[in-house]
Amino acid sequence: MSHYDAIIIGAGMSGLGAGIRLAMFDKRVVVLERHYVWGGLNSFYQFQGHQFDVGLHAMTNYAPRGAKGLPLTRLLKQLRIRWDELDLHQQGHSAVSFPGTKLKFSNDFELLRGEVAAAFPDQIDGFDALVKAVREFNELDLDAPTQNARTIVESHISHPMLVDMIFCPLMFYGSARENDMDWDQFVVMFKSIFFEGFARPQQGVRHILKLLIDRYRRSGGELRMKTGVKRILMDGARATGVELDSGETLTAETVLSSAGLVETGRMCGQEPGAQATGKLSFTETINVLDKPARDLGIDETIIFFSNTERFNYAQPAGLCDTTSGVICMPGNFDLPEQPKDHLVRITNIANFDRWNALERDGEDSPYNRAKREWYTRSSDDVLAHIPDFRASTTLVDMFTPRTIRHYTGHEGGAVYGSPIKKRTGASGIEGLYIIGTDQGFLGIIGAMLSGISMANRWVLQRDGATVETT
């Protein structure tokens, strides 16, 4: 039986981030991944000869080379990756588009501020005050009490549609709560999207994952694919290791789990509370076009939209809610080469239980019919925001909440995990810590930083402390 300093459950962004840190400092560490590809919520696949990314529309948290004190810079230092290696290319501009009003934004915050001042002249002072509150809040203080973001935002801004326009991108890119966010998460998302902004490597998420896997392996870390964890082993109140799907057992001083709070609890034999499973899941349709989106007059990199003045970020009663969503044009980043496939990707909020209840077998199964129906509705409902691209579409693929659960193990296909976050990583069980989405740092950069900071806090720093006392 093998014994490790640390076992990490999941080879997503957080698991790999944690793994690199521990391997770098010669810990005996293994990353266990149930799936046959790594990346978790941020992965990639082949479909009819095309290479598609899951997740990654944009890497948030863009920072120029050498920018001080920003999350991306911190991440690069911790993983010892040079800025150049990421191969980042910035967005052109993006927009939040609501009925009758569009706010453009880019990686230069002044664009957004100017747009708000022009569209909502009587709100700009409140907007500035909100920005100041965001700037001054220290989201890295993991022990600060949580507050509701909506209360704070509404105390500065009285126009309901502007409030929703600010929330819309932040929720779509990171909220596990319906129609509100924790203030610290709001701040993290606001900074990462509006202050720092979007970028992407030419080769998309594959490139980032390759860097991480190479770094991990070169540091001496062990990675086991197609290796699911069935159960976390306990000795009294302490986690001592894991039992794999195969029945094999591995023991460790510390277990870091990126499987999610509810999912990790289940592996310890705990039934989750009613509120613990996230309700927010998504469908995404990927349209392959016969020409670049720009040639159709689509200039934005990403559009966050709502077809109603009040944006409803909540689980829909039906299969999908296509009245709001995210439209991503990966070819509209400032890339050195136009990508081989010209894509328009559309994300909508969806209901996991409804999709999960549909019979899947056969081309004409209810599941496949629903996909075709909602693909059409989703495409129709974006036409208030972009020129009609439908005649240029040559191929479509669509994934649903069920796909997300299948490939990542997240219950309810909950992309942003549980509304309950464990910001210190403490799971309530000694020796077992939560990393990734349910620790509360969001997005790709957030997930990696989560793995890193939890590995630092619960293994590397603690290790320093024990050496000292013995």
Binding site: R80, R82, G464, E468
Partner: protein
Amino acid sequence: MTDENIKQAIIGIINDINPDEDTSNINPAERLRDQLDLDSMDFLDIVMELRKRYGVHVPDTDYEHLASLDSCVAYLRDKMADKELVS
């Protein structure tokens, strides 16, 4: 190891942590934090690397001694006297 070697050892570690940082003009008397982009996570790395490369253990309570290159030298001189510089 000479005092100069100790400084080189620290700068070598900083260069590995952040290859995008220019370390050629560090003032040894001034706090490193004020001259370079170093946060508490990076100080953890300096400490971890000192242990990994030189077998020197710096307890949490002594982190403050690593504030400037000069204070590093004063603090590490005895601990690193018999060590060889690792490049």
